[in-house]
């Protein structure tokens, strides 16, 4: 929504001009926020209202404001954003504006332009000639780039809560172990199907617990049915998934019988070695070495994945990006279009991903640890659902719900 601020002065209450203006805004399909209102005390006293008017496009907003001017509305001067050059590569000017993950607009030469992408903890670089405003991280700053400083001429547009449907994301604002989980998961399944059938993309962020808890087959099914468009994980998830595919164990524990395998602690190392020898996960699938599991399903169904390395890694697998900034870049590149992020069993990875997502992405955090879920959902600006539960139980239930929905399990994945 684009917005303009107007002021009304006069006997706007007794003349009913104020309600007339507000009704006119709504009739035009716009929205308003009364930023300030001063009502005259005595009969002859004038009143004042400052109203932020928003409309879906520049055109509808301009037309609307023109009509409102007939009723005495005056447009407040739009103040331009302040810019300063970056003093050096990778260095922002002092007092640079720091973004949130919400839709943000800046006023440049009297006109509002949107900042892309909506990503938090970034600066805003402006290209005046092109009329473009871009969110930039430290590593993208070049000396001389025009960066937004201070706070004037910047407008943050919080999420428009949809009043039409009360979906599960609307009412889940706090985390508790006492939740009607089945109902929530059922709603979630419907949301997943809507997203898959529409234009949205589903991102899954998975920790190795997905494998340890024996949930591999459920995630495989989600991939098969087209409910995973993108997977972010670390070395560990891939390693233990492959360990399970090759040896039936995860961290040496037999996933079929839940007992410790003989020499089981060696299995994950042998799994890493096998993939390193094959030249990577895709190669391993091609040659038939890797025939099942999450990573195999991703390769077979064309699901892109980014494996970000950490200091805890063994190996790592050849597909893992070991440089932290390079990992961030890779993830950033791929997240455009994501509308739901399902984050399971990894606090640090989930936090990293949350920092990349715009506030419009609906996030689901699943962990057995309430503190982890709390930490991840306590982000204010996100539409978030937090579930404190075992991952295998969750994924089993989610896939069960999906299999009960008509048409939910057709295995043709639409190319998006």
């Amino acid at each position: 929504m684009f917005s303009e601020t107007i002021e009304l002065r006069g006997h706007i209450i007794d003349s009913l001009i104020l309600p007339k203006v507000l009704d006119e805004i709504l009739r035009a399909g716009g929205n308003f926020k009364i930023r300030e209102i001063k009502i005259g005390e005595r009969r002859a006293d004038q009143s004042y209202a400052r109203i932020e008017v928003s409309g879906p496009t520049h055109e509808t907003l301009d037309e609307l404001v023109l009509r409102l001017r007939q009723h005495g509305a005056e447009v407040t001067e739009k103040v331009d954003v302040q810019l300063a050059p970056a003093p050096a590569d990778g260095v922002f000017p002092t007092d640079f504006y720091v973004t949130t993950n919400q839709q943000t607009f800046i006023t440049l030469d009297g006109k509002e332009i949107e900042v892309h992408p909506a990503i938090m903890d970034s600066g805003i670089a402006v290209d005046r000639e092109a009329g473009r405003a871009t969110a930039v991280k430290f590593y993208e700053v070049r000396k001389g780039m025009k960066i937004v400083t201070g706070h004037q001429g910047i407008r943050v547009a919080p999420i428009q809560r949809s009043t039409a449907r009360t979906d599960v994301f609307e009412f889940m604002s706090n985390v508790s172990v006492e939740q009607p989980k089945s109902a929530i998961i059922r709603e979630m399944a419907r949301e997943f199907k809507r997203t898959r059938d529409g234009k949205g993309k589903i991102l899954v962020v998975a920790g190795p617990a997905v494998v340890h808890t024996g949930a591999v087959e459920h995630l495989e099914r989600l991939i098969q049915w087209g409910y995973v468009d993108l997977l972010f994980a670390g070395n560990a998830l891939a390693v233990h998934d492959i360990e399970n595919a090759l040896f039936g164990t995860s961290l040496g524990v037999n996933l079929g019988h839940a007992n410790l395998a003989d020499q089981g602690h060696e299995n994950h190392m042998r799994a890493i070695n096998a993939i390193r020898e094959a030249g990577g996960i895709a190669r391993a699938v091609e040659t038939g070495l890797l025939q099942r599991g999450i990573m195999c399903s991703c390769v077979r169904h064309g699901v892109e994945f980014v494996l970000a390395g950490s200091i805890r890694d063994d190996g790592p697998l050849p597909d893992v990006i070991t440089d932290a900034i390079e990992s961030q870049k890779a993830m950033r590149e791929k997240i455009s279009g994501v509308s739901i992020a399902l984050m399971m069993g990894t606090m640090l990875h989930s936090m990293a991903v949350e920092k990349l997502l715009p506030a419009t992405v609906k996030t689901i955090c699943v962990d057995i640890n309430a503190d982890v879920v709390n930490k991840l959902t306590d982000r204010g600006t996100f539409q978030t659902v937090g579930l404190v539960t075992d991952i295998e139980a969750f994924l089993r239930e989610l896939t069960d719900c999906l299999s009960n929905l008509n048409g939910a399990t057709t295995s043709e994945r639409r190319q998006k």
Binding site: H11, D14, S15, L16, I17, P19, K20, Q70, G72
Partner: protein, 270 residues
């Protein structure tokens, strides 16, 4: 004793078309024009008021409609800022003349359209001001600031009733005669809120500009062709003086349009 400003119709005619009533092709009958205006003058002279006359100017045919000269309250006169260039040149004549009569002339900023008493009528302690076709709502605010009174701005929605005085006429007993369809729903609500006793005029009679009446205490001078309204007013104890106004209706004006009170009120706070 009330004072009224009139302007003889020596240069009156339909020379341009700035409202739906005007038609240059049809024009106005010069002899009838003189007769109808004289009848108005004579009728008013016989009532409890003093008539002042301003010299008509060539090329300003609508100067007869003195209601649009401006708004006089106490000794202050706010001249009009006409929307149409055809009438714009009238304003300095009226301003100069009023100044000579001892009024303090206070102009509004010249980008605020304001067409005087034709769009600004006191009823009770509020000044009702019409906007859209001629006066701007911005001018209302400026007038309110100048006079220090409550201004009720009402939007006019029928181009045939383009000035407030064509569809709204306050009466001394706190009531008002009006044609509701000329206002938008908010204007109607605002008027109903402020004026508790409203006399509705039927569309047929409204078209005869029956709301465009000069009210002098218990005497009401109005165009003929409104028998229902006349009956209602007589029942309320008013004396009605009906006059043919055909030649002035051809310019979209009638009795009230042809007069301006000097002043409309002695004080804005009454």
């Amino acid at each position: 004793m009330r004072e009224l400003l009139l302007c003889p119709p020596d240069h009156y005619g339909i020379e341009y078309e700035i409202n739906p009533w005007m038609s240059r092709a049809r024009g106005a009958d010069a002899a009838l024009v003189q007769k109808q205006w004289k009848d108005l003058h004579v009728t008013l002279s016989k009532l409890d008021c003093k008539i002042e006359l301003i010299t008509p100017q060539p090329k300003l045919p609508d100067m007869v409609f003195t209601a649009n000269a401006g708004l006089a309250v106490g000794k202050k006169f706010i001249p009009s800022n006409f929307r149409h260039k055809e009438r714009a040149a009238e304003a300095p004549h009226f301003a100069r003349w009023m100044e000579e009569q001892g009024y303090q002339v206070a102009w509004l900023p010249n980008d605020y359209y304001f067409e005087g008493e034709g769009d600004a009528l006191f009823a009770g302690d509020a000044l009702f001001c019409g906007y859209k076709f001629r006066s701007d709502i911005n001018s209302h605010r400026a007038v309110a600031e100048m006079l220090g009174c409550l201004v009720i701005s009402v939007e006019l929605v029928d181009p045939r009733f383009y000035h407030l005085d064509t569809c709204f006429c306050p009466l001394p007993d706190g009531a008002a005669v009006w044609f509701p369809a000329a206002f938008d729903e908010y204007g109607q609500r605002a008027i109903r809120e402020q004026v508790k006793d409203l006399v509705d005029v039927v569309p047929g009679e409204a078209m005869h500009f029956s709301c465009n009446a000069v009210v002098l205490d218990r005497d009401i001078v109005l165009p003929d062709g409104a028998p229902k309204l006349v009956t209602t007013l007589r029942d309320r104890g008013y004396r009605c003086h009906e006059l043919p106004m055909t030649e002035f209706l051809k310019a979209g004006g009638a009795c009230k349009c042809l007069t301006m009170f000097m002043p409309q009120r002695d004080s804005a706070m009454e």
